[in-house]
């Protein structure tokens, strides 16, 4: 955190000054470790084993916050008797189809009192086709949608039923003993138990613990399950929805949270509405019902209003009830259009053009060579950036020019490089990890021809529409009917000439939403109407322009307001600073403790009592804790007074996820795709459902049991240095930053240096099946070998900030990674791999490819494809059989899926 988020780290330092104990779990000793009381080195890629061990510690010793767990989580919910856990299936859950490598999750569902026929309209849609879920990264929708399960599953609040989630969880993690953690993670039992004690002793009624992770945690083939493991722990210990608790994702750039809220993703629309699918969403109703999940609890019941307001924001007056609010104008997805699929499609000649904005995939994305070869096979490429980055110059100076794979004279891609305005040169908002929007004023004019993204896309759209004006071609209607009318401001001459800067505040007002007839900005998303009388571009942001005031621009001093500081910026939804904060009070609505009082029920307030506190209650203001839903209710009405997790189908925090995840209802330890170790916990080596692209240009290093696994004997990982920003596009070109870390280097332990003959400050190169890169050797005790499964493993660390351009240049660590993706969200495994390290510089020119090919041949990766499913044949068959049984019992609709 101190390395990549030094400004946020000030609060850790502040806590330390007040006596907090800091423990840092990280493969290497970093700037964060330097200030921690204890550094716990861990093997890269073994985090689920580590967290699973803590979950086991909590459950074995009954250290969970029982009152919280019983009332606010699904611990008491009974799981279907057809569910079979990984322990009985060699690392697979029940319902595995070895052909498609996906699960039929029918057997993962809750037991229900309802009849089978009803099981459940709400469950049916989402539990369906996992092949398609993986293709479309459908897990991202569940990020906010939660599981759309039955509102009224069977529960045993004594937690004694052998199939209640609590007992299922307890059995699932029983294997993760301190001994197993030591064996798998290389963490001593003393260190491990110190973490267990610190976490549990600092949780409960009187105290809360925050879990803070940076996004490297997500970049694994089991990345989503890493976060899930953290969520399970935080729920068990009662740390969600309470002050000082929660799970904080420290994002890699400014406004990454904003770029998922109003997404730059192929499968999502603003406010986490799904991108319509060509096969499933033929009509507006299909689309809305798939979000709404009739029968489930919660605020997604209003999805119709959210979706129609978005369509109205896009197409304005053209969107009417008669034409389904122009739903047919919406593009549809047909499968995997993720960034890595797109890159491989570029190599295969299936993509013509590409826009890059503030992104430098030539050096910043996994498998740099594939990225560059892909971009070299386009008709055109638009790059908007602050500097002439590698993604704009790859055709003339990339490593592939040296190897002869790209010939500048013959490269067909026409590159259009546009200078972009930086964040201080344009107005707008950043949304940070607390979901807080903060408005930025433009401080200075952008230099030269540099312009904002808003300017670029507004005028690009305007010019395209002018070009198409008068067209009567049906396919041009979506563009011509767009509401594309933003007021321009800035330099009067430019405005007069039609080239002014669109008002970002006008865009914010549209995002917020307003009444069409009067223009009155909406105050809350509950004012959104499904009849076209209101419009709004992102329902979760409604309220940011409440009363016509830019709430994101508020800057009231913390000294002049409550400790929650509600008047600094604006947080979605409805300016709530802590989500699900109903959980900060006990089931009767009283604070769990005076020390942690935050939001509570005041029976004296209003007509018949109200939720009050420092923050905006994340609950219906006048719904008392004693409220119980009437029989047959759904949606908001079905949320009971003790259901704090109002976006979940059952109102409860999910310790066990019956649907929404492609790779299983509970996190289980799988080895990284490339690992020098066999999975000690199961026969199933890696995530069996991971997304793979098996091609000659995307080979993976072999894993043990293969005779050649020792060709790549070391584990490597990459991350950032404080001195640089991501792939260096904003730091390598600036003198004052570039000089701080002027060269690419490779950190190794003294022991590995001895073993491989590496000299401090000499050169070395690192080799994988994809490429070989070089760097200066940094021998340091900050890296230390670990003892894993009884033998010593060396870990190598590299920063990934360099490329061939800029004031300081060097090889890109991202060239070493292949493409293997998490099946839920299609994020790449770019934080762990295996490699070899050798002294000296790498070969140059065509010799480089020969050298790498030699390694590939020696590793056997040419003829021998690493098997993904390694659980025993018997386990695979039995897992599959459960699926067959499940079909008969519960879900006849499943037959037609796939």
């Amino acid at each position: 955190m101190a390395e990549a988020h030094p400004v946020g780290f000030q609060w850790v330092v502040e806590a330390k000054k007040r006596g907090a104990r800091i423990i840092h779990v990280d493969p290497r000793f970093t700037r964060t470790s330097a200030l921690a009381h204890q550094h716990v080195p861990i093997r890269v890629g073994s985090d689920i084993a580590f967290l699973g061990g803590i979950i086991n510690y909590v459950l074995e010793n009954e250290l969970d916050f029982r009152d919280y767990v019983v009332s606010y989580t699904n611990a008491a919910t009974i799981v279907s008797d057809t569910f079979v856990d990984v322990d009985d299936l060699d690392g697979l859950f029940s319902g595995f189809d070895p052909e498609t490598r996906t699960y039929d999750p029918t057997s993962w569902q809750y037991e229900s009192e309802d009849t089978d026929a009803d099981l459940h309209r709400s469950q049916a849609d989402s539990s369906g086709d996992h092949v398609e879920h993986r293709e479309t990264a459908a897990g991202m929708q569940h990020e906010s949608h939660g599981s759309s399960v039955s509102a009224r599953p069977m529960r045993d609040e004594t937690l004694q039923h052998p199939r209640c989630v609590y007992q299922v969880l307890k059995r699932h993690y029983a294997r993760y003993t301190p001994e197993v953690v030591e064996q798998v993670c290389g963490v001593s039992q003393d260190d491990f138990l110190a973490v267990c004690r610190a976490w549990t002793e600092n949780s409960g009624r009187e105290r809360t613990t925050a879990l803070v992770y940076s996004v490297g945690w997500t970049q694994h083939s089991v990345g989503v399950q890493y976060i899930r493991a953290g969520a399970i722990l935080q729920l068990l210990l009662g740390n969600m929805g309470r002050p000082g608790g929660g799970i904080m994702a420290l994002r890699g750039h400014a406004s990454i949270q904003g770029s998922t809220d109003i997404p730059t993703l192929f499968n999502l629309l603003p406010g986490y509405l799904p991108m319509p699918n060509a096969a499933k969403h033929h009509t507006l109703t299909d689309w809305i019902e798939s979000v709404r999940n009739p029968g489930a609890k919660g605020f997604w019941a209003n999805a119709g209003a959210y979706g129609i307001n978005l369509l109205k924001a896009y197409w304005g007056d053209a969107a009417t009830a008669d034409n389904d609010f122009c739903f047919d104008y919406m593009p549809r997805i047909t499968g995997d259009h993720g960034t890595y699929r797109t890159v491989l499609d570029m190599i295969d000649g299936k993509v013509k053009g590409y826009f890059l904005l503030g992104q430098n995939p030539a050096v910043g994305s996994a498998h740099g060579r594939a990225q560059r070869l892909g971009m070299a096979n386009l008709d055109w490429l638009v790059v908007r950036d602050l500097f002439e980055i590698e993604s704009a110059t790859f055709w003339k100076d990339s490593p592939e020019v040296e190897t002869g794979e790209i010939v500048p004279e013959e490269c067909r891609t026409e590159v259009f490089l546009f200078p972009a305005a930086s964040h201080v040169e344009k107005e707008g908002t950043f949304t940070q990890t607390q979901r807080m929007l903060q408005w930025r004023e433009k401080a200075v004019e952008p230099p030269g021809d540099a312009t904002s993204e808003l300017w670029f896309f507004y005028h690009l759209g305007r010019m395209v529409r002018e070009r198409l004006a008068g067209s009567d071609d049906e396919r041009d209607r979506p563009v011509l009917d767009l509401a594309w009318d933003y007021p321009l401001h800035g330099d009067p001459e430019q405005v007069a000439a039609g080239w002014g800067e669109p008002s970002a505040e006008a865009v914010l007002k549209e995002i917020n939403g307003y009444e069409v007839a009067t223009g009155r900005p909406l105050s809350t998303f509950t004012e959104m109407k499904a009849d076209g009388s209101t419009l709004g571009g992102c329902w979760i942001y409604t309220g940011v322009y409440k009363d016509g005031v830019n709430q994101a621009a508020r800057r009231t001093s913390r000294h002049d307001q409550s400790p929650v500081a509600p008047e600094w910026g604006w947080a979605w939804p409805l300016n709530r600073r802590i989500l699900y904060n109903r959980a900060s009070a006990d089931p009767e609505g009283r604070p769990w403790s005076e020390r942690k009082a935050y939001v509570w029920w005041d029976p004296e307030k209003g007509d018949a009592g109200e939720w009050v506190g420092d923050d905006v209650p994340d609950f219906e203001k006048t719904k008392p804790p004693s409220y119980r839903a009437p029989e047959g209710s759904e949606g908001v009405e079905a949320i009971e007074g003790i259901d704090p997790f109002i976006m979940q189908g059952d109102g409860k925090g999910a310790l066990y996820v019956p649907q929404g995840l492609v790779d299983g209802p509970m996190p289980t330890h799988y080895e990284p795709v490339e690992s020098p170790f066999r999975n000690l916990v199961h026969g199933q080596q890696g995530n069996p459902t991971r997304k793979e692209y098996r091609r000659d240009d995307n080979r993976m290093n072999p894993v043990p049991d293969d005779d050649h696994a020792d060709v790549f004997p070391f584990v490597f990982t990459t991350s950032r240095l404080t001195e640089h920003h991501t792939a260096g596009g904003m730091s390598r070109y600036l003198e004052h930053l570039a000089e701080l870390q002027p060269e690419m280097f490779v950190e190794v332990s003294p022991a590995l240096a001895r073993e491989r003959g590496l000299e401090h400050m000499g050169w070395c190169h690192v080799i994988t099946a994809r490429s070989a890169i070089e760097g200066r050797v940094m021998v340091t005790e900050r890296l230390r070998p670990l003892r894993v499964e009884g033998r010593i493993v060396h870990q190598v660390w590299m920063p990934y900030h360099w490329g061939q351009s800029g004031l300081v240049s060097g090889d890109s660590a991202n060239d070493l990674f292949g493409i293997s993706l998490d099946p839920n969200v299609l994020i790449q495994e770019s934080k762990v791999g295996t490699c070899d390290v050798r002294p000296g510089k790498r070969p140059r020119g065509t010799a480089l490819r020969d050298y790498v090919d030699g390694y590939v041949a020696r590793s056997g990766a040419v003829d021998h494809v690493v098997p993904v499913v390694t659980a025993s044949a018997d386990a695979v068959r039995r897992s599959h059989d459960v699926q067959e049984d499940g079909k008969d019992q519960h879900a006849p609709h499943q037959v037609e899926d796939r």
Partner: protein, 317 residues
């Protein structure tokens, strides 16, 4: 204007320099126990003061690529990788193991340290970080020796170079007991090449009521700017708090008005001996002995004169 302690001993420098009713003396308290080595101070300093590039070279001294304070580096963050002194109970006795160095003398480790302890058995070691800066001494030798008046004592008690007056003689470079001030050697074309350069404590910001750039940029309040009197008190409290938390190595450096430079305007909380951070353990203002020397030189001169006079007397007689 020369007072009893003008060259040595406790003193409030601004009134001593002739300011009438100056503002309270300003300085830095750099608490290295919360420094995270982010180098924001280095960058903010260079941005505000337009300090050009320094080395552009990887040095291999941990994460320090700035090397030292010099004309192009007015803030410098040192990184010291140091093996822990405690020996874990399950480890072989270091002294009994002939392969291990017998005694850790606390010198900074540069690059790969030799080590015979199996790596997996290493105890936690320390990674010390510290942002160094001009000390703005109570008795500033650079100022004392400057023949042009380019270096002056500001009303804030700080020591500042005036680029347009400095003639580049370099007396100050030799005079500084910390090796802070230096003449700029590059880059070519820079107007200040040949001119003595160092931290001004952002004199141009102070006169506008603002904090120095490095203190404003420091995310963890490792660099605190304020009235020296208050900072000294704050530093004492911080040391006491750290001692209470069991960090017995915490100590102050430069806070003592009785030390060799009369205490510094920029002083430090360190977690080890000053030498480990590359700081002189007992700096003394190089002009301390000027009165002595003057007296002695005077005596010698007088003796010479008397001798000469006597010789004439004798000749006459």
């Amino acid at each position: 204007m020369i007072g009893r302690n003008s060259l040595f001993g406790p003193l409030d420098p601004a009134p001593d320099a002739g300011y009438e009713a100056p503002p309270p003396r300003k300085g830095f308290f750099t608490d290295t126990s919360v420094c995270i080595g982010c180098k924001a101070c280095e960058v903010a300093c260079k941005e505000w003061n337009d300090v050009p590039e320094n080395l552009f070279q990887m040095l291999g001294t941990s994460y320090d690529n700035s090397h030292s304070l010099n004309a192009n580096q007015w803030r410098h963050v040192a990184f010291i990788e140091r093996p822990g002194r405690s020996t874990a109970p399950d480890q072989p006795d270091r002294l009994a193991d002939p392969a291990t160095p017998p005694v850790d003398i606390g010198m900074p480790t540069v690059g790969a340290p030799p080590s015979g302890v199996p790596d997996e058995a290493k105890p936690d070691f320390q990674w010390l970080m510290s942002s160094d800066v001009c000390k703005h001494c109570t008795h500033a030798a650079c100022l004392d020796v400057c023949p042009t008046g380019s270096l002056f004592r500001s009303e804030f008690g700080t020591v500042v170079v005036q680029d347009d007056i400095c003639n580049g003689c370099g007396y100050c470079v030799a005079a500084c007991p910390y090796g802070v001030i230096d003449r700029r050697t590059g880059p070519e074309g820079d107007p200040s090449v040949g001119i003595a350069q160092k931290c001004t404590l952002c004199y141009d910001r102070l006169t506008d009521g603002q904090r120095p750039a490095c203190a404003a940029a420091c995310p963890t309040e490792s660099i605190v700017y304020g009235d020296v009197e208050q900072l000294r008190q704050q530093a004492n409290e911080r040391v006491a708090a750290l001692h209470e938390q069991g960090v017995m190595d915490a100590r102050l450096y430069g806070n003592d008005p009785e030390d060799g430079v009369g205490g510094t305007g920029a002083f430090f909380l360190l977690l080890d001996e000053p030498e480990v951070y590359g700081l002189p353990p007992d700096p003394v203002v190089t002009t301390k002995d000027l009165p002595h020397m003057f007296t002695r030189a005077g005596m010698a001169g007088t003796a010479l004169l008397i001798g000469a006079a006597l010789s004439f007397v004798r000749r006459r007689s």
